[in-house]
């Protein structure tokens, strides 16, 4: 059974592992959380990002939300901002796509072109 007192242990573990989190100049993952995004499945997508980031112990990545991005038919949508690079917009996201985006784009710096809005618009 979970109890609040466990949080003190978690705090110790987290602070030992991390000194970098306070300066957040790393990658930003922004999930569209308008009504359209939520209805299309943005919540499991956002949670998979958190899960993958935790699994890989990535220190400089933050996950956050925005409202409706404006292309509701392509939701769930995710924007990835890496410092010094152009924003990449991913569309029709699923938890499976998240795994590849974290591995290939966020960790290794190569956007997964086939999932981007650019790839969709060309069809």
């Amino acid at each position: 059974m979970k109890s609040l007192s466990e949080l003190e242990e978690i705090r110790k573990r987290a602070l030992e592992a991390v000194n970098l989190r306070k300066d957040r100049n790393g990658t930003r993952v922004v999930v569209g959380m308008g009504t359209c995004g939520i209805a299309a499945g943005a919540r499991p997508v956002l949670l998979s990002f958190i899960e993958e980031i935790k699994k890989r112990n990535l220190q400089d990545v933050i996950v956050t939300q925005t409202g409706c991005i404006g292309v509701c038919r392509l939701e769930p949508m995710v924007e990835v901002y890496r410092p010094g690079e152009e924003k990449v917009t991913y569309i029709k996201m699923t938890p499976d796509k998240v795994k590849r985006i974290v591995a290939e784009h966020i960790v290794n710096g190569r956007p997964v072109t086939e999932f981007t809005i650019g790839a969709e618009e060309k069809q």
């Binding site: 059974m1 979970k2 609040l4 007192s5 466990e6 949080l7 003190e8 978690i10 705090r11 573990r13 987290a14 602070l15 991390v18 989190r21 999930v31 959380m33 308008g34 009504t35 359209c36 939520i38 209805a39 919540r43 499991p44 956002l46 949670l47 958190i50 980031i53 935790k54 933050i62 996950v63 956050t64 939300q65 409202g67 409706c68 404006g70």
Partner: protein
């Protein structure tokens, strides 16, 4: 949307847009009176009476980018479809309360869904906002308050992945105890 936890996630976005610093979510399963009551209360900037009257109209929104606003209209529609209703009260400068009632046993009432996921997403994306979630059923009650968490974690950020994982488990276990495991 498939379940109430998704509606809640959606309605709380309004509180966030209204610059709330505290959002209270209250769910009461009142099987005796065949009602499920959902209340979302915030201390955001509030609305004037004219706006309150129009918020469940899908063609009313304060956004300037688009002319539709579907969040509260969908909640209103689903509540009405299961013999309930939505009542909104608001005061400029004080905050807003959205109260939705559903027929508990109505065949069209959406299940509660994964409240632990909704809470985790809200805390991750809004680490500076405090959330209180209270759930009451005939089996007991459960309360989660981010202010209690903050007290324990001190200078560690509440959106740290370890803390979020703990919150997910804590809420899930708390609800399992009072919602009978399968959550309907």
């Amino acid at each position: 949307m498939e379940d109430l936890s998704l509606y809640i996630l959606d309605i709380v976005q309004n509180s966030i847009s209204a610059s709330a610093t505290l959002v209270e979510i209250f769910v009461k399963e009142d099987q005796e009176n065949d009602k499920l009551i959902l209340i979302i209360r915030d201390n955001g900037k509030g609305m004037d009476p004219q706006s309150v009257g129009r918020v469940t109209d899908p063609f009313y929104t304060t956004r300037t980018t688009r002319k539709v606003g579907l969040g509260l209209s969908l909640l209103d529609a689903v509540a009405k479809a299961c013999g309930g209703r939505v009542v909104i009260s608001s005061r400029p400068g004080v905050g807003t309360e959205v109260r939705a009632e559903f027929g508990y046993g109505h065949i069209d009432r959406p299940p509660l869904g994964k409240m632990e996921d909704t809470i985790s997403v809200l805390v991750t994306c809004n680490p500076t906002i405090d959330f209180v979630y209270t759930h009451i059923s005939s089996k007991g009650s459960f309360e989660f308050d981010t202010r209690d968490v903050r007290q324990r974690i001190g200078d560690l950020s509440i959106d740290h992945p370890y803390v979020i994982a703990w919150i997910t488990d804590y809420v899930r276990e708390g609800l399992d105890g009072i919602c009978g495991g399968g959550k309907e």
